[in-house]
């Protein structure tokens, strides 16, 4: 195990039962496993429908992949600041944790703003969810990702609000680990969505 059972935090929550696992982390991984099935199933259906229709043709060519690439860059930068926040928590620098969390959250908000611009552009050109099957999949998969990212932004700003000079170091490191784990998962989902819905649809 990477973390000891001591980290479960009996000092702050004496009612918790000590086990050999870090319960919060295990719970987060079980949650992420379910989310993987959700996004994996959607992407699997997207691929199979693409095969069934002999590719997505002209619809796929209209997707705004350069803006998607910029958004990917924004998300990669947000995971860098999240990792830096974790590093700062490890050396018990709560001021730096707060700063890095703020930047991470703001980059998440920037992602959402760019996505809103992208959706607005698609709608202006007539590519609504009912325009074609490709666009239905596009809005369902990317929209679901947007909702997950929004939840991540709320969690990051919520944790940032809770961090103060007297925040217990072990508590902060643990909560930060769960929030960042979720954030990295949302980033990984986007990596595959970008490859599948944007790049693969626009290729060739």
């Amino acid at each position: 195990m990477a973390d000891s059972a001591v980290e479960i935090g009996t000092a702050h929550a004496p009612h918790e039962v000590e086990t050999s696992f870090e319960i919060g982390k295990l719970g987060m991984w079980v949650f992420l496993a379910g989310e993987t099935m959700l996004f994996g199933g959607l992407m699997g259906v997207f691929i199979l429908e693409g095969i069934y229709h002999g590719g997505w043709g002209a619809d796929g060519a209209h997707v705004n992949w350069p803006l998607g690439a910029i958004n990917t860059f924004v998300l990669f930068s947000s995971s860098l600041t999240a990792a830096l926040a974790q590093g700062a928590a490890r050396v018990q620098d709560s001021a730096r944790v707060k700063r890095y969390l703020g930047v991470t959250g703001l980059l998440g908000v920037l992602f959402l703003i760019l996505k809103a611009f992208e959706y607005a552009g698609d709608f202006r050109e007539g590519f609504t969810p009912l325009a074609a099957l490709f666009w239905s999949f596009y809005y369902v998969t990317t929209g679901l990702h947007v909702l997950h990212l929004l939840a991540g932004v709320v969690a990051i700003f919520g944790l940032m609000y809770m961090v103060g000079p007297n925040t217990p170091a072990s508590w902060l490191e643990r909560k930060l680990k769960y929030v960042c784990l979720y954030w990295y998962f949302v980033e990984t989902v986007w990596v595959f969505l970008f490859a599948l819905v944007y790049l693969a649809s626009a290729a060739g």
């Binding site: 496993a33 199979l48 860059f73 860098l80 490890r90 490859a195 790049l199 290729a203 060739g204």
Partner: protein
């Protein structure tokens, strides 16, 4: 094991690697590579990015087998589902 000392260089290196892989995938479309080659490059880069995130940020390299199972089992199930449905889709095309 958990690191006790913090160095910003590791997350920066990971970020650089992810951005480089992003450029590889994007260039395969921008340069107009043949579709089959472009798809290999795009999904190769995406898989490499997921590996880098899992290894460096999620720290999967230091996790035990239970976490690995939780991370990989749903991926395996989705791949099995896709393969099971593929003949059905191909025959009805």
């Amino acid at each position: 094991m958990e690191q006790t000392e913090f160095s910003a260089s590791d997350p920066l290196k990971t970020w650089g690697l992810l951005v480089a892989l992003l450029l590889v995938g994007a260039l395969s479309v921008a340069l107009g590579l043949p579709r089959s080659l472009a798809l290999w490059v795009i999904f190769g880069a995406a898989t490499a990015q997921a590996y880098v995130i899992g290894r460096s940020y999620m720290r999967l390299r230091s996790e035990d087998v239970l976490i690995y199972t939780l991370a990989l089992l749903p991926v395996a199930l989705v791949i099995v589902m896709a393969f099971v449905f593929t003949p059905d889709v191909a025959m009805h095309r």
